[in-house]
Structure formats: structure tokens, C-alpha cells
């Protein structure tokens, strides 16, 4: 177990290093002078040269990469040109919106998907199963940011129950903050729930015919108890896997939904950094998101080993 863990962590570190190097190199290879992008086309050659020196662009690539990496280890991600503040602080600040948003969305989608999937599997080939199947199938095709727009029309414009966007900040109180994140989280959660419902249903169907579930039933456990105590926990493995696999899409969805609802999160920051030509911020945000996806998948891998002891045997 320990040796598996060490090997996984080492491979995680290597992957993260390669990702950072890759993004660094790609940004470097792309045509266009970052200094010119920051200053615009009207800048004088002297100003450009000065900024290039300040950005360290006159150094060779390996030196710049190592300097940047060294900074990351010390919690220094560089300076934002538009905001004039350290990027690390900026990311941390925006995370207080994006992280709760993503968390709410994941919890909601699991909260919707697992009961629906389990019930559909329990009564498989019935009416309920057919309806759940059709709804989840359709929900996968619906863009999250469109759900966001529709929910603004319904809950803000027509009913007036919810704010149409914006974020009051956590200083305004937990409830106000959560309320502002509710619609965006629902928009993000629905397409995810569609995918997860299908996975949960298939997984429960698979597990329902396994010996231990049959044994549980044979020893007198009711159908429901056998299902929830034995079948569902085992069916969670594919659900958790899917959450990991879908995480890239959750991030992409968050970037869009944050823009729909005008939330000051990381996705909005990425978008603003593009509009403002703030290359350093963009590079750091892209790296941060990618690292997040990789780390989440790493954690999902570890979670497997916790959920399903069978997988601990024979893992490379």
C-alpha cells in the first residue's frame, strides 16, 4: 500500500512538472511578444525593451522556467500587470468563489444522480427507469451556461426570487453567498447529474446480481436494505471515477457559468486576463486549473483504493 502510494505521488509530481513545462514552452512558442501584448501596439521600443527586461524575457527559456518554478515553490506566482498585485493572492481570492461553486455542483449532481440511478436500476425497464433515462440523456446534450441563462430568465426575471448574477462576497453572510452561488451551481450540476445518473444506474445493475448482494438478500435483508447497504457503496466506485473524468468539463463549465452570472471566480479571472492581455495571470490560471484536474484525478485514484480493497491487489 505504502509503495503504491509513493509511486503514485512520484508520478503525480513528474506529471505536474511536465504540465508546467509544457504550458511554459507553448506560451513561449506562440507567436507574439508578451511585452507587446501587455503594452499594446503603440508602445515605444524603449518601453518595450524595459518591460521585457522587467518580465525577464531577455533571459533564455530554461532560466525563466526555473526562476518561475522556484517562485512557485515559494508561493510566488509573479505579478499581475493589470491589478498590480501578486497573482498568488489573486488566485486565492478568486478560489473562494470557484471552489464552493464547484463543490456545490458536485454535491448536487451526486445528490441528484445516485438516488435517481439507484431507483432506476431497482425498477429497471419500468416506466420510472425510462423517464430517468430519457431525462438524463437529454441533459447531457444541454450546455451548462444555457441552463444558467434559462434559470436567470425563470428565477430572476420572471419570478424575482434570485439575483440575476453577481456575488456579494462572503462578508455579506454565508446565506447571501450561498444564495448567489445556487443558480450557477444548479446550472453546472444538471449536465453532470445526467452523466452520473447513467453511470450510477449501470453500476447498481451490475452489482445487484453479485453474490454478496444475493447473500445479503438470502440472509433476510429487505430488497431496499440490501441495495443501500451493499449494492450502492460498491456502485460508488464508477460514480467517483466519472466525477474525476468529468472534472475537466466541470472546470470548463465553471469558466462559462461564472461569466454568465458575473461571478468573481477563477474562470472569470481567466477570461478577464485574456481581455486585459495579462499574460502572467492567464498562464498561472491555466496552470492552476490543469494542476487541479491532475490532482483531482490522483485523489480519485487513491479514493478507489479506499472504497474498493480489491483494487489494492495487483496494482502496479
Amino acid at each position: 500500500m505504502i509503495s503504491i502510494l509513493i509511486r503514485r505521488i512520484l508520478s503525480l509530481i513528474v506529471t505536474l512538472l511536465v504540465v508546467s513545462l509544457l504550458i511554459f514552452v507553448v506560451m513561449d512558442l506562440l507567436p507574439g511578444d508578451p511585452a507587446a501584448i501587455v503594452l499594446g501596439t503603440s508602445a515605444s521600443p524603449e518601453t518595450l525593451a524595459a518591460l521585457r527586461t522587467q518580465m525577464g524575457l531577455d533571459q533564455p527559456l530554461p532560466v525563466r522556467y526555473l526562476a518561475w518554478l522556484w517562485g512557485v515553490f515559494q508561493g510566488d506566482l509573479g505579478q499581475s500587470y493589470t491589478y498590480g498585485v501578486p497573482v498568488a493572492g489573486l488566485i486565492a481570492e478568486r478560489l473562494t468563489v470557484t471552489l464552493p461553486l464547484a463543490l456545490m455542483a458536485v454535491l448536487m449532481s451526486v445528490g441528484i444522480a445516485v438516488p435517481l440511478g439507484v431507483q432506476a436500476a431497482k425498477k429497471h425497464n419500468g416506466m420510472f427507469d425510462a423517464v430517468v433515462g430519457a431525462v438524463s440523456y437529454v441533459s447531457i446534450a444541454v450546455p451548462a451556461f444555457w441552463v444558467g441563462l434559462l434559470s436567470i430568465i425563470l428565477f430572476s426575471t420572471l419570478l424575482g426570487w434570485m439575483p440575476a448574477g453577481g456575488f456579494p462576497g462572503w462578508d455579506a453572510g454565508l446565506l447571501a453567498g450561498l444564495q448567489a452561488l445556487l443558480l450557477p451551481a444548479i446550472a453546472l450540476a444538471l449536465p453532470q447529474a445526467g452523466v452520473l445518473t447513467r453511470v450510477a444506474r449501470a453500476a447498481v445493475l451490475d452489482v445487484m446480481n453479485e453474490d454478496y448482494v444475493r447473500t445479503a438478500r438470502a440472509k433476510g435483508l429487505g430488497e431496499g436494505a440490501a441495495l443501500w447497504r451493499h449494492a450502492v457503496p460498491n456502485a460508488l466506485v464508477p460514480v467517483v471515477t466519472m466525477i474525476g473524468m468529468q472534472f475537466t468539463f466541470l472546470i470548463a463549465g465553471a469558466v462559462l457559468v461564472e461569466n454568465v452570472f458575473n461571478l468573481p471566480g477563477l474562470g472569470r479571472l481567466a477570461y478577464q486576463s485574456l481581455a486585459q492581455r495579462d499574460i502572467v495571470v492567464m498562464q498561472d490560471v491555466v496552470l492552476f486549473f490543469s494542476a487541479l484536474v491532475i490532482v483531482v484525478n490522483f485523489l480519485v485514484d487513491l479514493l478507489y483504493l479506499v472504497i474498493d480493497p480489491r483494487l489494492r491487489v495487483g496494482v502496479r
Binding site: G32, V255, A291
Partner: protein, 272 residues
């Protein structure tokens, strides 16, 4: 034909997809109104009052814009998937031929590319080379490469273990020849299915990109930008937000159904 009627999902997917393609192609030669012609007198008219689906804030016909949007969206998605699938399949089959450390490196590389959502790579590209169809195509295609590389590797690996491949190896055929004669024809069904499904995903992604202004520039109508523009008028003209989203959802649903239907038809073993 009887096969088709017995498979409602495949049939529905085929009908929706064909309709989408026809509308997209039709938009090249005919739309009810010129899609970018402004007509301020008739601005923000609801459906049926002016044109079939109403007009936007500049009095442009929504139905015409949706039709041209279908072409823009579909052609971008097709181009991106074609590039991604070609490169991905080539990588997958070559790796299946070589295995060993090459496989380790390429697959790790796939994990890494897969970790960068296309929205973010499009932003990176957009900052340097500007946004537009090219940026969108490259960003989506890059994301598709690992999808197809993983799929072809897994599928090709299975074929490489078959007896007839072993026989061909024994007869001294080159690995490249075996790949073309035995491997690719045997995995082509799975690739076709995946292309269909990824087309849906590409349309979704393209919509997201053009919503953020990273897709085709105005005045080319795209479904994503129509949604972005509609946001200012949600109270006055909610239909502006309804139609493009519906178009996206129907297109993606149709392609997903077509993909699943094709999978049932071509590759019954892998049906979940």
C-alpha cells in the same frame, strides 16, 4: 431499412443529424433574410411577428442567423474532429505497434493534454494569435487527440493479440502493413462511433468558446455568440436566449443518439 426502423435511437439520431446538415448547407445558398442585415424598425420582435423566430436587438432575423450559425458551428466542429481524430488515430495505432516506453510516454502525454480544458487552451491561443475559427479549431482538435489516441490504442491492442495478426507477423509482414490491412479496418467502427459522439462535444465546446468571444468574429452569427448577445435582453426578449440554446441541445442530442445508435449497430459487444 428494416434494421433502421427497429432502432429508434439510430433513426432519430440520423433524422436530426441529417436535418442539421441540410439546414447548414441550405444556409450557404438561402436564408429567409440576409442574416446580418440590420432592420432597426423591427428590432426585438417576438417569434411570428417578424420572421419565423423573431428578431434581435438590431432587427436581424433570428431564424436566418440560426441557420448560418448551424453551418459555422458544424463546420468548425467537423474540422476540429477531423484533425483531432486523424492525429489521435495515427498516434494510437503507431503506439499500439511499438508499445513499451513509447506507450508510457505517449499515454502520459495524453493525460496531460486532457488536463487542459479546450476553453483554457483557446484563451492561451487567443491571447497570442487572436481569437477566431482557427483558434477554436486548434483548441478543440488538441483536446480530441488524446481521446482518439486512447481509444485506438485500446482497440488496436486487442486486435494485435488475435491469431490472424500473429499469423501475419509469422509470415513476415511488416508491422505497418499489418496496421493498414488488419488493425485499422477492424477498429474503424469504433472510430466512426467516437467521431459522431465527439462531434456533439465539439459543438458544445464551440458554443462555449463563441459565447466567450473566442470563436468566429462578428458579423458571422454563431450559436454561442447569439446567446452571449441575448443576455442583455433577457427581460425584454427571452426568445433570443431560448432558440440558440435549443439549437445547440438538439444538435448535440441528435449526434449523441446517432453515435449510440451506430454503436449498437456496428459494435454490439461494447454496448453498455
Amino acid at each position: 431499412m428494416r434494421q433502421l426502423l427497429r432502432r429508434p435511437i439510430l433513426l432519430a439520431g440520423l433524422v436530426v443529424t441529417l436535418f442539421l446538415f441540410l439546414v447548414a448547407l441550405l444556409s450557404l445558398v438561402w436564408t429567409p433574410y440576409p442574416p446580418s442585415k440590420m432592420n432597426i424598425v423591427h428590432k426585438l420582435k417576438p417569434p411570428f411577428e417578424f420572421g419565423l423566430l423573431g428578431t434581435d436587438q438590431f432587427g436581424r432575423d433570428v431564424a436566418s442567423a440560426l441557420m448560418v450559425g448551424a453551418w459555422n458551428s458544424l463546420s468548425t466542429a467537423l474540422l476540429a474532429v477531423a484533425i483531432g481524430a486523424t492525429i489521435g488515430t495515427a498516434v494510437g495505432t503507431v503506439v499500439a505497434m511499438r508499445r513499451g516506453w513509447v506507450e508510457q510516454i505517449v499515454m502520459r502525454g495524453c493525460d496531460i493534454i486532457f488536463a487542459v480544458p479546450p476553453i483554457l487552451s483557446a484563451m492561451m491561443l487567443g491571447a497570442f494569435i487572436g481569437s477566431g475559427r482557427f483558434t477554436a479549431v486548434i483548441a478543440i482538435a488538441t483536446f480530441m487527440v488524446p481521446v482518439f489516441a486512447r481509444l485506438t490504442l485500446a482497440a488496436a491492442r486487442q486486435i494485435w493479440t488475435r491469431d490472424y495478426v500473429a499469423a501475419a507477423v509469422g509470415m513476415g509482414r511488416s508491422k505497418l502493413k499489418i496496421t493498414f490491412v488488419h488493425i485499422l479496418p477492424n477498429i474503424s467502427n469504433q472510430i466512426i462511433v467516437q467521431v459522431t459522439i465527439q462531434l456533439g462535444l465539439a459543438i458544445l465546446t464551440e458554443a462555449g468558446l463563441s459565447y466567450l468571444g473566442l470563436g468566429m468574429p462578428p458579423p458571422n452569427p454563431t450559436w454561442g455568440r447569439m446567446l452571449a448577445d441575448s443576455q442583455t435582453f433577457l427581460g425584454q426578449a427571452p426568445w433570443l436566449a431560448l432558440m440558440p440554446g435549443l439549437a445547440i441541445a438538439i444538435a448535440v442530442l441528435g449526434l449523441n443518439m446517432l453515435g449510440d445508435g451506430l454503436r449498437d449497430l456496428l459494435d454490439p459487444r461494447s454496448t453498455p
